[in-house]
Amino acid sequence: MTDLKPRYDLAVIGAGPAGLAAATLAATRGLSTVLLDEQAAPGGQIYRAITRSPVRNPNVLGTDYWHGADLVGPFRDSGADYLPGAAVWSVSRTLDIGLSRDGAARILPARHVILATGALERPFPVPGWTLPGVMGAGAAQILLKTSGLVASGNVVMAGSGPLLWLLAWQYLRAGARIDAILDTTPRENWRQAMPLLPAFARSGYVGKGLKLLLEVRRKVKVIGNVSALRAEGDGRVQSVVYRQGNGAEQRLPADTLLLHHGVIPNINLANATGCAQSWDEAQRCWVPDVDGWGATSVEGVAIAGDGAGIGGALAAEHRGRLTALDALHRLGAIDRATRDRDAAPHREALDRALRGRDFLDALYRPGKDFRVPADDTIVCRCEEVTAGQVRDAVKLGVSGPNQTKSFLRCGMGPCQGRLCGPTVVEVIADARGVSPAEVGYYRLRPPVKPITLAELASLPKAEDEVAAVMHH
């Protein structure tokens, strides 16, 4: 890590649309800026491999994907430093960033930090979801973007939400076969979503979305109102068993089951930094508390993009620019009036991009049975803890996820609760008959990404140790 400055005005973490847009604007307007990203190339998940995807036919991944290239060019020209392959495992309240790259760790200080850690798929804990061959639709989409790979054999998709339909469409465009889509969207969601339809109808999504949906429905068997789902197989998934409404169990052969029911903010780094967060009932997830500029409860730390609440890729871009303007203001580069004036077009664009989001949230809100699994379903994959064990702990008087963590080791594994946190919260809240808001969430701890002992040992020595050596 030779090319880094010893300290930056602004460090942006995550090179998706929010991070790219934020870093570009800040660096263009004179802040010494570094963009730290875990991946080898910019784009985040939504524009994953945008500079190097082997899928060159633009019709496969779609024009929305290729918009990502419009963000990368200006970023390259912005003067921001870019550090790919860097895992950020800690951001302290003193704005010291712990990161690892190429087997060495270091602490990089910054005057302001923008977290652009994006979204991750909401855990979808059905019986058998830990079998090989079962994966998130998001993971399948990454394989397609980075390597041009699609699943072969019998492919079943199950779940709900725009990304599921987008992946189905991309799969079909890439020539893959999909045996069936099991739609778990609860029927009653339509009642909640209908009043929000007019706003959605005025958004840019509606035309594109409908076209995509119809194309998929023409080519793939879609089974709606799926109320129960499980994967079965000996050593790997071989079939998918489901139920429609109150109907009898049906079975489909499957070599691959792609699950998805929405995305939620990736809050791990913000949480470990100590940013306050609240339960969002509409999106059914924990969301960091931010103001209109993305500023969190921790001085000097802002969040841009889906990491501060799901708004989608276009919204993320605009939110990135707004947080960058606020960073410029807070660091004394521009006054408040300039910030507010320059923010106006981005705010307008953000409002446009968020139009109709309420409708999607309401329509694709996952059904309770898929959020609050039955007793024998594993919720914590790292420690193999079942929903039943969590319920038993609640019966003993364990009242929140931090206690189940201490009690069952649930959430103590290497994923730091990314795969179980939302489910554990739902299960405890349901068992106690209270809102998840009352149950709380894991207190996460750095390193939020695993680092090796060797990396940690390579950190510069503590100041007092250095001082002790100097004085001898």
Binding site: S90, S92, R93, T94, D96, G98, I107, G274, E383, L396, G397, V398, S399, G400, Q403, S406, F407, R409, M412, G413, P414, Q416, R445, P446, P447, P450, I451, T452, L453, A454, L456, A457, S458, L459, P460, K461, A462, E463, E465
Partner: protein, 375 residues
């Protein structure tokens, strides 16, 4: 609801243990805990159950507590994850090995035989993965480790089953005399009365002591720990070092806990700690030196608990020096977990019999009368 006989402030291990030992004698305790049971040091410490290397004043208590640990299931109906594979302190130089011999001799002179010095061959038998340069160790074979939150929770549940009551989310706002009783008001507006008050408030205990007119020089500290992803089993005992700060052990599930008392920063009013990764790194280098097998291990989490340390590194245990009907048990200075079972019994003895058969003079709160006044 009937008023309790004793109000205990603090739902950590010492508060829960005191409630249990009182309940075993038919004395009804009410435990007031500002957060939830085992939220701080009691729930997140390294879990060492250690007689090894204790301050001379603590040794009799530690030995008595060890007997309770070896029958912990009989006491609380849960094994608390307690496993006894010994604890040892590795000597890396001849000088360190000499200090181990001196220590063992000191204890023998005091009449205790649980610590012994072992040579390089026995060290390698006990800890095959230890680095080759290590020359021997001080060993306490009946020591071990348990799971802290599970332990604290087990004490709470057993106490509760015998009639103790626990109010979580009940921060004490004010304590005052009310006739023969102590009246304890909590931040949520409730008030409770009992003739006896016990201060087990850990890192917050100095505030209660100050209200009772006996301020103490308590330091709020945040000892840091880290844990690895699972690695194949290679270690049974808990390993420390003679010349450096380390506490190192492998859980039955394969994860390895690395601690030893290096301090982060505690913010007790916010229930928050900041880690100091430069110091965590020092710990990592110690492990690098002593356990070559660990060099490729992955650290998945680090944390710190909020704990109280007294200037002389031993706790405050015993009756108040200013008020009748008040007892203290706090300030365990990052090594109170093993003492939990016995200190609850000592405090219950003090309340129900007016005395303990263990020597606790060294822990009197009066020892700070002058230092705290000067501070």
């Amino acid at each position: 609801m009937s008023e309790p006989d004793v109000i205990i402030v603090g739902g950590g291990l010492h508060g829960c243990s005191t409630a249990l030992h009182l309940a075993l004698r038919g004395v009804r305790a009410l435990v007031l805990e500002k957060d939830h049971i085992g939220r701080h040091a009691s729930g997140v410490n390294a879990g060492g159950v250690r007689q090894l290397g204790r301050h001379a004043a603590e040794v009799p208590l530690s030995v008595a507590s060890m007997a309770l640990w070896h029958g912990i299931r009989d006491l609380v109906d849960d094994d608390c994850g307690f496993e006894s594979h010994g604890q040892l302190k590795v000597a890396e130089t001849e000088a360190e090995l000499d200090s181990c011999r001196e220590r063992a001799a000191q204890l023998t002179a005091l009449g205790f035989t649980h610590e012994e010095v072992v040579d390089q061959a026995e060290l390698r038998r006990l800890v095959p993965a230890i680095a080759e340069h290590c020359l021997g160790a001080l060993v306490s074979r009946r020591d071990g480790a348990a799971i802290p939150y599970r332990t604290t929770f087990a004490f709470k549940r057993k106490a509760e089953s015998l009639g103790a009551r626990f109010h979580e989310g009940a921060a004490v706002a004010r304590v005052a005399r009310s006739g023969r009783n102590w009246r304890v008001e909590t931040a949520d507006g409730a008030a409770h009365e009992a003739p006896v008050l016990v201060n087990c408030a850990g890192a917050w205990a100095d505030r209660l002591a100050a209200q009772l007119g006996e301020p103490v020089p308590l330091e709020v500290i945040a000892p840091m720990l880290m844990i690895t992803a699972r690695v194949p089993p290679f270690l049974k005992p808990v390993v420390g070092a003679t010349g450096r700060t380390l506490s190192f052990k492998q859980f039955p599930n394969g994860t390895v806990l690395i601690g030893g008392g290096l301090l982060g920063r505690a913010h007790r009013d916010e229930n928050r700690t900041d880690l100091d990764f430069a110091k965590v790194s020092t710990n990592a280098r110690t492990v690098w030196d002593l356990f070559p097998i660990m060099r490729s291990a992955t650290i998945v989490r680090s944390w710190a608990g909020i704990e109280a340390r007294m200037p002389d590194d031993i706790p405050v245990i015993g009756p108040s020096g200013t008020e009748e009907g008040v007892f203290h048990a706090f300030g365990f200075s990052a090594h109170g977990f093993q003492l939990g079972p016995i200190v609850g019994r000592i405090t219950a003895d003090l309340i129900t019999r007016g005395a303990s058969d263990l020597p606790i003079d060294a822990f009197r709160i009066q020892r700070f009368r002058h230092t705290a006044a000067a501070a």
